[in-house]
């Protein structure tokens, strides 16, 4: 992979996002990054995007059927998530917000463990840690600090992994994200801040979130490199993250990456986006769909065939089926487990309270 842009702490980032594929699926003339990938890698990313979309839709369906309490769709953000995550090594530790389905698909997380979060079976999601992802984090911005602490630990260990803090445009307003960026820079922590600027924090558009020329521009305040990429372009996201990860891994310190994208669906299944944005706006972004764009390109270069695409769609269906079977009417866990993980050993108070709840459940069963 060649690149003509360099990550550099100091200068104001380029406002023009890095792009590899034009919206029509053709390569941009004279791209700032040059992505030469083996067909297998292309196909793996395409697959992941298709599977993500299918799982995303199946979550929405399950929620409508009363099987999930809530679901935040990542539709439209598959390019950013799959591209960026595919550029990482498996041991690079992800610190996700909650809308990171594409990242978890790349990491091979069992969708049932994700669905359990949204069903309300257990907090945080199951099986993420095994895939080198922290649990889902709901208090906005907070987990960016966990990523930085983890990255400080990597540096202390002399390891060459990195940590990736996945945050939203809205999150950049929180004090914790500022403190995270600052600590990361001061301690040269190998941490990439991957901001999916999907234009909204629930109903609040990014122009009301900040007056910074871009999210990437905020890097100047921390003396770290900032870079924007087209988040609906999986190859741009891939290439940008690959550069950022290499920079952090090589000891350069943290990098702030802004992937410019769009949340095509509602904030969550509880949200009514017609209250704050127009259909026109949504449609104009829907035309920039990352999967369509990538498909056109992969078709054009002959990597994607009818058969291979059908296989991807089939894998998406399988994943959706697995999710549905694992989630539908899934029995609830044992409530007494609630006492098991408060501390390493339950305190006397917890032992007593556990017994109280046990007795209560027995009473109810009578």
């Amino acid at each position: 992979m060649n690149t003509t842009f360099t990550l550099q702490a100091g200068p104001v980032p380029d406002l023009e996002p890095i792009q590899v594929l034009r919206p029509d699926g053709r390569l941009v003339d004279d791209p700032r990054v040059d992505v030469q990938l083996p067909a297998a890698e292309h196909l793996a990313m395409f697959d992941a995007m298709v599977v993500t979309r299918a799982l995303d839709q199946e979550h929405v369906n399950l929620q409508r059927q009363g099987q999930l309490a809530l679901f935040p769709s990542c539709r439209g953000q598959e390019g950013a998530q799959v591209g960026a995550t595919s550029a990482l090594r498996p041991v690079d530790m992800l610190f996700p917000q909650y809308r990171e389905l594409g990242a978890w698909v790349v990491r091979g997380v069992d969708p049932v463990g994700i669905g359990m979060m949204w069903r309300g079976s257990w907090h945080g999601g199951i099986g993420l840690l095994e895939a080198h992802s922290s649990t889902m984090s709901i208090p906005i911005g907070t987990h960016a600090l966990h990523a930085v602490g983890y990255a400080m630990g990597i540096a202390l260990d002399g390891d060459d992994a990195i940590a990736v803090a996945c945050i939203g445009d809205g999150a950049t307003s929180e004090g914790d994200v500022h403190e995270a960026l600052n600590f990361a820079a001061v301690f040269d922590a190998p941490c990439v801040f991957f901001v999916q600027n999907n234009q909204y924090a629930i109903s609040v558009p990014v122009r009301e979130q900040t007056r910074s020329a871009s999210i990437a521009h905020k890097a100047v305040a921390y003396g770290m490199p900032g870079v924007r990429c087209d988040g609906n372009d999986v190859l741009a996201s891939y290439a940008t993250m690959r550069e950022a990860a290499a920079y952090a891994r090589a000891g350069g310190g943290p990098v702030l990456v802004e992937a410019v994208t769009y949340r095509v669906e509602a904030h969550t299944t509880s949200d009514d986006p017609t209250r704050y944005r127009s259909d026109d706006e949504v449609e104009s972004w829907a035309r920039l769909d990352p999967i369509d764009r990538y498909r056109t390109y992969l078709r054009a270069i002959g990597v994607l065939t009818d058969d291979l695409e059908a296989a991807a769609v089939e894998r998406g269906k399988c994943a959706a089926t697995r999710l549905r079977e694992g989630i539908y009417d899934r029995p609830d866990g044992d409530p007494l487990e609630l006492f098991d993980h408060v501390f390493a050993e339950p305190t006397p108070a917890l032992v007593e309270q556990r017994a109280e709840l046990e007795a209560e459940i027995e009473r109810a069963d009578d």
Partner: protein
């Protein structure tokens, strides 16, 4: 008389407060254009303009910190923190400044700030959306804590809170947002600091607030079938606390059960128990019993009904109170 929900009542209270006093400002995350995730601020931006009802960037400490500055400038901010669990980032501003400003300035600068916080559990939300934060605030000298349990009280207490010159944490019980009552607005109920007997009884005093009031009334109904006469006291505000009302009831019944959703240790029930045993010592025929959530993190949605106190858990405590010493 119209049948209205607590959301309707709160929305009307905000509307009327904004109409009556143009120094009242409503702001927070998603409260403007969208009308709030629970629609409590619906229509306010349209009615009063985005100068007076507006969306902020996503930063709770800033929402409270700028409220303090606006109050210094003579405004009456009514900020919303979107959920209980998202009040925590604003904790320092509340404890170190909002609670202390009047005192620090020897009464020169008041803090007429009403912080609305959709609170407590029971509606199947994800993590951090079902917390019971009242202990944190009630323990903090300089903050008042108001918790309505009905639409009419929602209206009346919110109006009184906004009219008050003190900083108030106004904790709205999410699980009661959509419960209806026949209310003609505007309505005026007893002031902040006065408890209300929601049901009179003679055997056991049940002290509660917010979401637990409905549970207590349900328990009283069921208990009546067993021949137990429960007196249900809705505190309505935790600071100031209507201790006299609680003690008067216990002087009558001799028994007291206190209910909260919060984890047991240092939940508000501890304060009630401490006060009741101190001020009705000879009259008590059984210890004050606490009906509470557990000392664990709030569970995920599918398990919350098991974790939360319900009429059964409450009645079990009532029975233990009634049987106390006789076994």
């Amino acid at each position: 008389m119209a049948s209205i929900t607590m959301v309707d009542a709160l929305n009307a209270a905000l509307r009327d407060a904004m109409a009556d006093d143009e120094r009242v400002l409503v702001f927070g995350e998603d409260v403007g254009r969208m009308g709030g995730v629970f629609r409590v601020t619906e229509g306010l931006a349209d009615a009063y303009g985005t100068r007076r009802c507006f969306d902020t960037p996503l930063a709770e400490s800033a929402i409270i910190g700028t409220s303090i500055g606006l109050a210094m400038r003579g405004y009456r901010p009514v900020p919303e923190l979107q959920f209980d669990g998202f009040s925590y980032p604003a904790f320092e501003q509340m404890l170190s400044h909002l609670a202390k400003f009047r005192n620090r300035t020897r009464g020169q600068v008041a803090m007429p700030v009403t912080i609305r916080v959709p609170s407590f559990g029971g509606i199947g939300s994800p993590e951090h959306h079902s917390e019971s934060p009242e202990t944190y605030f009630a323990h903090t000298a300089g903050l008042k804590v108001v918790v309505p349990s009905t639409p009419d009280d929602g209206y009346s207490l919110l109006r009184d809170s906004i009219a008050s010159d003190d900083p108030i944490l106004f904790l709205e019980p999410k699980s009661r947002y959509w419960a209806r009552a026949e209310v003609e607005l505007p309505v005026s109920r007893p002031p902040i600091g006065q408890a209300v007997v929601r049901r009179a009884g003679t055997d056991v005093t049940v002290v509660c607030y917010g979401p637990m009031v409905a549970t207590a009334l349900e328990a009283a109904e069921i208990g009546a079938e067993e021949g137990w006469s429960l007196e249900v006291i809705d505190l309505r505000s935790l600071v100031p606390l209507d201790r006299d009302a609680v003690i008067a009831s216990v002087e009558k019944t001799g028994r007291c059960v206190v209910a909260q959703e919060a984890p047991r240790t240092l939940g508000f029930g501890a304060e009630i128990a401490a006060l009741v045993q101190e001020h009705a010592f000879w009259r008590l025929e059984a210890p004050v019993l606490r009906v509470t959530g557990f000392d664990t993190p709030y569970p995920a949605a599918r398990l919350e009904h098991v974790w939360l106190p319900d009429a059964d858990r409450l009645l079990d405590a009532v029975e233990r109170s009634l049987d106390y010493g006789s076994s």
